[in-house]
Amino acid sequence: MSRYARRLDHDLARWREAGWLSADGEASIRRDVAGRSRSLELAPVLGILGAVLIGFGAMSFVAAHWNEMARLLRLALIFIGLFGAYGLAGLLFDRDHPAFAHAAILTGVALFGAGIMLIAQMFHISGHAPDAVLTWALGALLAGVVLRSNPALALALLLMGLWSGWEMSDTNRVHWPFLIGWGAVAAAMLWREWIPGLHLAAIVLSIWIVAIGYFLLDGHGHGVVVAIGLIIAAAGLAGPVILGRWRTWGEAAIAYGMAIAFAGLFALQFIENAHLDNLILLAIVTLALVVGGIWIGLKNNNGSLLWLSYAGFSIEVLALYFKTVGTLLGSSLFFLSAGIIVILLAVAAYRLHSRVQTSVEAAP
């Protein structure tokens, strides 16, 4: 039962006791909720976990380079495993066990990756490793699109991230082709209308945007990251207002944009070793951003944004503390400014609360 369903369960009982709801009405609501809820079940989740374990098992087997087994046999094993996994997936779809079928597809994709590694090892190919990861990612994308398999798409996305991260750490430059790979997987997820997948895509893209700050402008591109984050957040704020729809998307964009901007500001303050006057300015901007996040989170009743902002506030304050600690003057500055900010926050919260209160009372 989801959190929403649990709360509704409580409320329905209360409303019926208060006499606001007929027994029929309650039953209809319960049926509707049960029909719409897509609660996670244990069996499919275990199936996917099992597939992941088998995948790691296959890769460790390759890594062990077990010479007792002839090369040809090892290769044959990978091919048999590959066809076996996809064949099993087909049988499971046939018998109406789609959840287990997707686990079998994921196993097939994992074995494809293990096969790439095995061949690289057999022939001592130490070529460009990210190319191998890209090949694997494309195989996962193919399986995800053709077999309409969300787990395979999720794996494709993670592999695209690994591909790009590896390229960037290898060359020390921004790896723009990532956007093409990411876009292809994200488009497939959009086509599948798979919301959790799109969130995963947004998280991977956010991490990538934060990462390019360390490569742009000779490694000092964090300002660009902050700008990109703020633009995304602003688009999330303004979009639904202008278009009159896509509110959920807008709220997600605000949260991701703010998180990106926060990560950029954090790097500017603590990775770049900002000067004290610069640091104070940046810290004020960061805290303003966090307070803005809390305010928007409260206004839109967006729990994720609220918690993200709280976490951001804690991280920022803690980092400031470690940065300024050491001199008494620094510590004093820290405590004074943090205190003032918390009080300002309290005042803001109080005013917001009283405004909400009045608007509730004013409502008919």
Partner: protein, 188 residues
């Protein structure tokens, strides 16, 4: 998956399985072809720091051509470099380095294509230096058996037998200790 019919589902299964198998098969064919038809050259192995990655145990092999002088500025990591090799004695030595593929080589010279890992720009006083990878730097060995080989690398007793195709792609065909072939891998 429920929204498409069973026949299409099986076609999809077949497409994914065969395309992925074909990719693996192509990788094998390409390598086997390179090793069986490529020109053979022998390069001296020089020691480098051994590392280990998730592909299990392997011995890192260094070569004379792993660090080459460069005269061109603007070489970035990821750029392609060609090194022309010529046979001198039992081994092959680098003759010159170029960013463009040299044409019409005499029959006793071969090209090897590399990818710049790191390059320093040339100055007026000295040429720059590039660290280059050719895809022949890792020799995978069964788990726990890398020490022996590492010792041979350390004593500079090891040569690598390399196959190169006309485009300059290279693969390790085997290893040689004091002129004798050891560790020669079968094609399959």
């Amino acid at each position: 998956m429920m929204d498409i019919n069973r026949r299409n589902m099986w076609i999809g299964i077949a497409v994914v399985a065969f395309v992925q198998a074909a990719v693996l098969g192509w990788m094998i064919w390409q390598r086997a072809h390179l090793l069986s038809t490529g020109h053979e050259v022998v390069l001296e192995v020089i020691p480098v720091d051994p590392r280990s990655l998730f592909q299990g145990d392997y011995v890192a092999l260094g070569y004379e051509i792993s660090r080459v002088p460069v005269t061109e500025a603007g070489l970035k990591s990821g750029s392609t470099l060609y090194v022309t090799l010529q046979k001198t004695g039992d081994r092959w030595k680098p003759l010159y380095v170029s960013t463009k593929k040299p044409e019409n080589l005499p029959p006793d010279q071969f090209l090897i294509k590399g990818r710049v890992a790191y390059a320093s720009a040339p100055t007026s006083a000295a040429p720059g230096q590039a660290t280059v990878r050719y895809g022949i730097e890792d020799f995978f060995v069964p788990e726990g058996t890398g020490r022996e080989l590492e010792k041979l690398v350390g004593q500079k007793k090891l040569d690598a037998l390399i196959a190169i195709d006309d485009a300059g792609n290279a693969g390790i065909k085997g290893l040689m200790v004091e002129g004798k072939r050891v560790y020669e891998e079968p094609l399959l």
